[in-house]
């Protein structure tokens, strides 16, 4: 029985044609948006995407950006990482080589941002990670010197750990703290270590350190151990999908002390899922939705009008990433990747929705402040600002 060669030939031809498809930027400025749209933290990805689309729309509505004498529009290339490190790296590779983007915004979570940053650095494309607070994102893995092309729009965990440690010992007056974190997540692990350093420098003592792995749902053994150690507070830098489980299990075991969170807590979804169990807890964050800053208020109003929800810090930081990028593109007047990078690193005073930012020479980390929020009556309520 002879095999019919025709279907195979058609398939091969189609494959070759589709494979050869590389997109050429013509009249638009292509910006890659790498976000965690599915997977463990989809609310983060959704915020990022929404803010990116809002920012792009505003830039385009204002006429676009002048590049090489012509006004060009922003075109977004949105890719999903599914909150997985390998997919993040693949997505960045794709937008650099196939879509030939001028710059990249994202990914958000540091476990995705770290591998993505390596690829962006090698590819020589500017990457701004809106929400990644892990110090290693902008540092070269071997030499520990700052990377050239990787920037971030948020503060680093060094600053965040310091802020939280101080808050715990000075404002919450805690003497003993326990920690529970995801050992498989680089960023949450580093937040815990830096909190511990800061808390102990302030005179406190960390009495229990417990861990779990990404995807674990049962924390009863760890929480029972923490309860036995008798802490005043528990530092819980977990993502918003794990916090409700952890807090509810703690309450079921009779562990009633306050929990302290990091910016990993920051989305409204957390309050929806956790409900009364999380009432009264504090967390650090990048901005407060109740601010009176007019720049921020304008952003909050546009976001609310477009998406019917209060923007979280991921959205605010993504919007700021685009703002920084826009300022750099206007200054550079070209989509040459190196020029964009140089213009970005010269940003001395950017009034963002998350505060005033500037980059110091050679570093991709902006100098900016943090806020402490409290969960009260199903809302994030501003408590205090902390400047560097």
């Amino acid at each position: 029985m002879r095999r019919n060669p025709l279907p195979l030939a058609c398939f091969a031809a189609a494959a070759v044609m589709l494979g050869g498809c590389a997109r050429h930027s013509g009249d638009t400025i292509r910006i890659g948006v790498i976000a965690e749209l599915t997977g463990a933290i989809p609310a983060v990805g959704a915020s990022c995407r929404n803010a990116a689309q809002l920012a792009a729309k505003e830039i385009n509505d204002a006429g676009g950006i002048e590049i090489g004498g012509k006004k060009k529009m922003i075109e977004l290339v949105i890719e999903d990482t599914a909150a997985k490190a390998d997919q993040a790296a693949a997505a960045v590779q794709k937008v650099i080589t196939r879509d030939e983007v001028a710059a990249i915004v994202g990914p958000n979570s540091s476990s995705n941002a770290l591998p993505a940053a390596e690829i962006a650095e090698k590819g020589g494309v500017v990457m701004i990670a809106p929400w990644s607070t892990n110090p290693k994102t902008t540092l070269d893995a071997q030499t520990n010197l700052p990377k050239q092309f990787v920037f971030r729009a948020c503060f680093t965990d060094m600053f965040q750990g310091h802020v939280l440690g101080k808050f715990a010992s000075e404002t919450l007056k805690a003497k003993k703290a326990a920690m529970l974190y995801d050992v498989a997540s680089e960023v949450l692990k580093s937040q815990s270590e830096l909190f511990k350093q800061s808390f102990e420098a302030g005179g406190g003592k960390v009495v229990a350190v417990e861990t779990y792995t990404t995807g674990d749902k049962d924390f009863s053994a760890q929480l029972t151990k923490i309860k036995k150690a008798g802490p005043d507070i528990v530092f819980l830098p977990s993502y918003y999908t794990d916090v409700p489980l952890q807090v509810q299990q703690a309450h079921r075991l009779g562990l009633k002390v306050p929990f302290l969170g990091s910016d990993a807590w920051s989305t409204e979804e957390l309050i929806k899922m956790c409900g009364k169990d999380c009432d009264g807890f504090y967390l650090s964050n990048h901005y407060s939705p109740q601010t009176t800053n007019p720049v921020t208020r304008r952003f909050i109003d546009s976001y609310q009008a477009a998406y019917h929800s209060v923007p979280d810090d991921v959205a605010a930081l993504t919007y700021d990433s685009f703002g920084l990028l826009r300022q750099a593109l206007v200054a550079a007047k070209t989509t040459d990747r190196r020029a964009i990078r140089d213009a970005l690193s010269r940003t001395t005073d950017y009034q963002g929705v998350t505060g005033n930012m500037r980059f110091t020479a050679g570093s991709g980390d902006p100098v900016k402040g943090a806020v402490i929020l409290q969960i009260k009556d199903d809302k994030f309520v501003w408590v205090t600002d902390v400047q560097p």
Partner: protein
């Protein structure tokens, strides 16, 4: 002492869930000599049915339990008829690949319908009793009692009913059982239905205890339950129950004694060692190869 009791309670609750899922694996292996790798995803579907029942239909505990169990039972029978029966006499590898494929299909189908992790509101008032430092929640009690009840019911079915006799006959020698008039296809479907129902019940109990569900939740739990079934002796119903509680006890014990980071590593290493010395599991027997 209280601490030890508290951790034991934790282990009992976790073990009940693992045992219920492990039963599904072991029963299917018993009658078909095939590992249904999609079973962890049946468990996930049970959890999602529980979500629909509690969060969307606002039904109380018992109807939710029935919906989860019946829904997954139907799914299991459907999968058996559509995916496994055509491969009944194919090489074992084909059936395993199909099972993995069914699992991935279920995960992505659910992902397409619901990409965000979902939160299940409390289905019934959860009371926590405190006795001298020991915290017992009504949810834990319900989980353990319901699981034990279901397992007892299963044991009764397997040992005392004609269906149970037929299931055991098919697991010993399928062809001879067919020759002796046992309706093999129906018995296998019934086995899948029962295994699925137990998995669905486990999904519901798990979802109520850990109320954030996502399409991939069945993967890790499924593997752990599979290992429980193997450790207890695959093919043996009492082995699955025993294996579930042993795995949970080892996991909790390791988390207590060592930094919790080592939990999975040590737990699975101990199981590997156990299998080295008892390759067929604790209650398992080598299957004689008839020549």
């Amino acid at each position: 002492m209280t601490y030890f009791l508290q951790q034991s309670l934790n282990a009992l609750q976790l073990g009940s869930v693992y045992a219920l899922i492990a039963l599904g694996y072991t029963m299917v292996y018993g009658v078909l000599t095939m590992i249904n790798f999609a079973h962890g995803d049946f468990f996930m579907v049970g959890a999602f049915l529980c979500f629909i029942s509690v969060a969307r239909l606002h039904l109380p505990f018992v109807p939710t339990l029935l919906i989860s169990m019946a829904g997954v039972a139907l799914l299991a029978v459907g999968v058996e008829v559509a995916a496994y029966r055509p491969l009944r006499n194919a090489p074992r590898v084909s059936a395993i690949i199909t099972a993995l494929g069914v699992g991935i299909f279920l995960e992505h189908f659910t992902l397409a319908l619901s990409p965000y992790p979902l939160h299940i509101p409390p289905a019934f008032a959860n009371v926590t009793w405190s006795a001298g430092g020991l915290a017992v929640s009504s949810l834990q009690v319900v989980t353990v009692l319901l699981s034990v009840g279901l397992m007892a019911a299963l044991q009764f079915v397997v040992a005392r009913t004609p269906l149970g006799i037929a299931m055991r006959a098919v697991s010993w020698d399928r062809d001879t059982a067919a020759l002796l008039g046992v309706p093999v296809d129906r018995v296998i479907s019934a086995t899948f239905a029962i295994g699925g129902a137990l998995g669905g019940a486990a999904g519901m109990l798990y979802a109520l205890s850990y109320p954030v569900i996502d399409p991939y939740m069945g993967v890790l739990v499924g593997w752990k339950a599979f290992i429980s079934a193997v450790v207890g002796g695959i093919g043996d119903v009492r082995g699955a129950m025993l294996g579930g509680y042993i795995l949970a006890a080892v996991e909790i014990a390791v988390a207590v004694a060592l930094p919790s980071t080592y939990r999975d590593f040590v737990a699975f290493s101990l199981l590997i060692v156990l299998l080295i010395f008892r390759p067929y599991g604790i209650l398992g027997r080598p299957r004689p190869q008839k020549l």
